[in-house]
Structures are given as C-alpha cells and as structure tokens.
Amino acid sequence: MTDITASEPKPRRRVNLHVLGPVLALVALIILGASLNSNFLSYGNVTNVLARSAFIGIIAVGMTFVITAGGIDLSVGSMAAFVAGVMILSLNALIPSMGIGVPLIATGMVIALATGIAAGFLNGFLISKIRIEAFIVTLGSMGIYRSLVTWLADGGTLSLNFDARSFYRPVYYDGLLGIAWPIIVFAVVAILGELAMRHTAFGRHCAALGANEQVAKYSAIKVERLRLMTYVILGLLVGVATIMYVPRLGSASASTGVLWELEAIAAVIIGGTVLKGGFGRVWGTVIGVLILSLIDNILNLASIVSPYLNGAIQGVIVILAVVLQRESKSAD
C-alpha cells in the first residue's frame, strides 16, 4: 500500500491567483511603500507596523476559526475593551496586597485570559446551546461589553497605576533579539493557528461544520461543542491581545477597540476565508491583517492624498483584494 502512494504523483493544484492574490497585494503594497518613503523599510517602521497589527492579528486568527465554522463574532472589539478594563481595575486593586512585580502582572494576565474565555464562552453558549443566531448574540454582547467598560470607567478612562505600568510596559515595547514581544506572540499564535487549521482534526471539523452542518452531525462530530469551542478560543485570543494592548498605553476607555471586529473580519475575508464558512486559512488572515495595517501606514507616511479619503482608499483595496480572488477562482 505504501509503495502505491509513493509511486503516485502527489495531487498538487496549480499555483493560481486565488492563492497568490493576497500575497501579491501585500508585495505590491510593500513596493509602493518603499518607493514612496525611504524610511518605510526601516527597522523602526517595520516593527511599528507589525507590533500594531498584533492586536487585531491575534484576534483575527481566532475569528478565522469562528468564520470557517460558519459563525461570526461582532463583539470582539468591545470584548477587548472590556477585558482591558477588567484587567486594569484588577491590577490597580491588587497592588496594595501583591505589590508591583511579576506575580502581579502574571495574575493580571490570568484574569485577562479568564475574562476573555468567559466572554467567549457566553457568546458560544448562547449560539450553540440556546441556538440564537450568532449575528444577533454577538451584536447584543457587543453593546453589553461596550456599555460595561464605559460604566467601569465612569464614562472616562481607566488608567493603570503609573508604577505598575512602568513595570509592565516592556511587554509591549521590548522584545527578544530585537523583535518586539507583540510580534513574537502574534507569530506564535498565527503558527499554532495555521497548524490547528490544516493539520488537526479540530481545523478539519471546523471546515466541515461550516460547509454543511448536517454532514458534520452525521459524521459523528460533536457539533455543539465544536461551535462553542471556536468562540471560547476567540475569547481566549481576545484575552491574549488585551495582554499585549494594556502595556502600550496603560489605559482603556469606551473608545478602546472600536471597530476592531470589522477590521478582524475584513482581514479574515481578504485572506481568502469564505465568509459563509466551510473554508479557512490562517496564513491568509495574517496577510490580510498586514495589508490593512500597511494601507494606514503608507497613507500616513506618504501624504499623497487628502487624509479625508483614507477610509475610501482602504475600502477600495479591501474590495479589490476580494475581487481578485473571485476572478481567479472562476478562471481555474
């Protein structure tokens, strides 16, 4: 049997635009950026762009699984603000008892992860067990988390204690071997996500669930639990993103994470994941996140068009990236 496999040529699809589309778009943006500003490819700028992509990137990796499994989560932006708020309040409250140091920050991180998991579980539970439409559940929780953080902050801004923040700050600004921590964490999350999507039963099952729930059910997949898990993982990753976000500015307010959900969803779709589910690829999502960040960066660096039009240019590129994939799809 083994020799039969060995003798047969491996089924290899032609390399086509559908696969390459987002990569080409990214390369084109990089070339454009480099030609417009000599600092574009500088170490500092590359680090800035990658590090600021990390929050949405980490969340978008989780979103890839949710969307692949046929779901959607509109609440991640508010959830991030809420988790950040809870984390800051907890850290401030724990300082008197724990003092400032690694245990304090570690406790804060655990609280952030736990809050994220709980928030994701709540979404997932309502969607998979109570069977309410994902769009409605997460639209509702989007408002709930946004209000909660406004309430926690009493309408203002929650700020982390200054000394705690100074201690925590390196988690965003420092790094390993010259690579900033957020970039490292984003890379690790993306690699694990890609492995999970392509090489584990979990990823395969997500795609099956998104493609046809009935087939998944008849194939002895625990459909409800699987769907719940996608939301819990997304919540966990929102927690991870928040852990990287809080040390950056040391604050959270009602305007934290506004529209992150849409950026994350856009990145997922630009990357080639199918919005209605059934097919997802994590590496595409990473490309999508980078494309979105680079557009902003280039527009800021170049000042070639009126800043009033930034949103329009972003919109055009997002739509183009998706159209490019569609056309090449029908061509193959």
């Binding site: 600092n39 700028n45 800035n48 500015l249 307010s253 305007s255 506004v258 800021n300 930034n310």
Partner: protein, 318 residues
C-alpha cells in the same frame, strides 16, 4: 435612583426647611438635559459635570426636576428629546447637539412649543432658535495654542499636527491654529487625523516619527491624543527632541503640567464644565426672574505650571 441619591434626597428635605431660598413660584419645573454619551474622554468629563450639576441643583432647588438622557448618535438624541416633550412635559431643554444639522428642526419644534431652549457647545444650523447659547471657544482653542507655538518656536522649526474627527469643530480649531502661526516661519510637516482617539494617535505619531527625523513640537489638539503621542515618542526615545501640547485639560495631563514636565509645557482649556454652566443658568432662569438669555462663550485659557492647580479636578473622570 442610586442609594446615595436617596440619602441626598433625605438631606435635602432638611435643607428645604433650613435654607432661605425664596422660590419664584412653587410650581415644579422640569428641565430636560440631552447630551452625547460618554464615548470619549472629553464627553466623559462632560457627563460627569452634567450629573454633578444636576445633583447640586436638585439639592438647592427642590422645585426643579431634571431628566438626563445620553445618546450614542443623533437619531437617538432626537428620540430622547421627543420623549421628554411628550412624556415628561419639560419646561426647559438643555441640549448639546450631537450634530448640528439633524438636531436643528427637532429643537426648533421644541422652541416653538414655548419651551425654553439652551444650546451648548455646538450651534444649530439655523441661528436664533435657542434662548441661551453656552459654548466653548473653538477658535480660541486653536488660536491660544497657535500663539504659544509662534512665541516659543523659531523660524524654520518643524511641527506636526494631529487632527480630530473631521468635523466643523475640528476645522475651526485647526484654521485658527494655522492663522495664529502664520508668518512665524514655523514649518508644519504634516496634519493627519487621530480621531481624538489614543490608539489612532499612537499609530499616527509612530508614522510621523518614522517619516521625519526632525520634529520640534507636536500639537496633539486633544489630551486623549496627547497620551498616545507621548507614548509613541517614548517608544522612539525622542523625548528630548520635542514638546507636546494637547488640549481640553484632562486631569492626568494637568497633573504633569503642575509637576513642570518639560515635555508638556502648557495646555489649553476647553472646559467640559460648560455643560454645568449651561444647566445652572437655565435653572436660574426657571426659578428666578434673572434674565439669562443670550450667548455665553467660555473662553479657552492657557494652562501653565503656575495656574494649573485651579484647573485640576481629581474627582472628574476626565
């Protein structure tokens, strides 16, 4: 009603007997207050001051009742105002229009119904509707900052500007700022929108720092944005190179000015407490014969290390 408000109510009962406030008439008057919800530091401060003023006035004037509604968008604000007129029978309305255009005709209808109208901060698009107009000074806000830049920088110095959300208000500020530095020889390298948001301002400032090797000062035009800007500068390790002027007097920023932080030499006020002034004036008009109609522009002042203490409200969320 929160529990502490009930206690306040009880205290008030004693106060009524004790205080010699002579009311104009004993009939209860209802004042509606419609403001945007606290989605941003400044609005958070505004909400705080509104609630605080209402609590204070309810204590002083037992014959006054207040209805406070916060709205996340212009449509909701219109609904809130209609509800106040229809169900709470308000005698006066204090409104900070979410946007000028959509609020103009609903507020006109309120005024036509004989209800006292006080407009705060943002004018309506048709003049003369309101009985009382209380506002911060957007032109002054830009001008005061611009004058400081003109005085403290020399010809050929480079600055960058972070603008807010593209609105009339933002345009007025930026135009006044530009006019004030005109002729000073200061070189404005770039103006991008940071949307009055810390994260956006952080990103924009990071990009400015990548793009320009020589920046002498930053006009962040808002204290939320200033926080993001300072963080980006710290990350680039260029704190010594430039100073930052924000705006609106956030308490954390004021505190640093009080300490004489060289990075934050001054600030310009755009007081969120203007809502309190508007509510107080309206209340005064309701309970007394004092003429309060007209326009009250609360000028933008320079906050310096010397006078910062008088602008510091540690209890305010902003």
């Amino acid at each position: 009603m929160k529990r502490r408000d009930i206690f306040k109510g009880a205290a008030l009962g004693l106060a009524v007997v004790a205080t010699p406030v002579v009311a104009q008439d004993e009939e209860t008057k209802v004042i509606g207050v419609a403001i945007p919800s606290a989605t941003h530091g400044f609005m958070g401060g505004l909400n705080y001051h509104a609630q605080e003023a209402i609590a204070r006035l309810e204590e002083t004037y037992p014959q006054l009742e207040f209805v406070l509604a916060t709205a996340g968008d212009a449509g909701t604000m219109v609904n809130d105002i209609e509800d106040m007129v229809a169900t709470r029978n308000i005698d006066a309305l204090v409104v900070l229009p979410f946007e000028s255009e959509p609020l103009t005709s609903p507020v006109q209808a309120v005024a036509d119904a004989g209800i006292w109208v006080t407009v705060v901060d943002r004018g309506l698009s048709v003049p003369g509707i309101e009985d009382l107009y209380v506002a911060g000074d957007n032109t002054g806000f830009g001008r005061v900052a611009g004058e400081y830049f003109a005085e403290n920088l020399s010809e050929g110095d480079n600055i960058v500007v972070l603008r807010g959300i593209p609105t009339t208000l933002d345009n007025e500020r930026v135009d006044a700022f530009s006019a004030a530095i005109e002729g000073s020889g200061i070189n404005v390298l770039d103006m991008q929108h940071g949307n009055w948001n810390r994260d956006d301002a952080f990103n924009v400032m990071q990009d400015y720092l990548s793009k320009y090797d020589d920046i002498d000062a930053v006009w962040a035009s808002d204290d939320d944005m200033a926080i993001g800007v300072l963080e980006a500068i710290a990350q680039a390790g260029r704190e010594e190179e430039m100073w930052v002027v924000g705006g609106a007097g956030m308490k954390e920023i004021i505190a640093r000015i009080m300490e004489g932080d060289p990075q934050l030499p001054v600030n310009v006020t755009y007081p969120p407490a203007q809502i309190a002034t508007a509510i107080e004036l309206t209340a005064l008009g309701m309970v007394s014969a004092t003429p309060v109609s007209g326009r009250f522009i609360i000028g933008s002042e320079m906050i310096t290390p010397e006078n910062a203490e008088s602008f510091y409200f540690p209890d305010s969320p902003f």
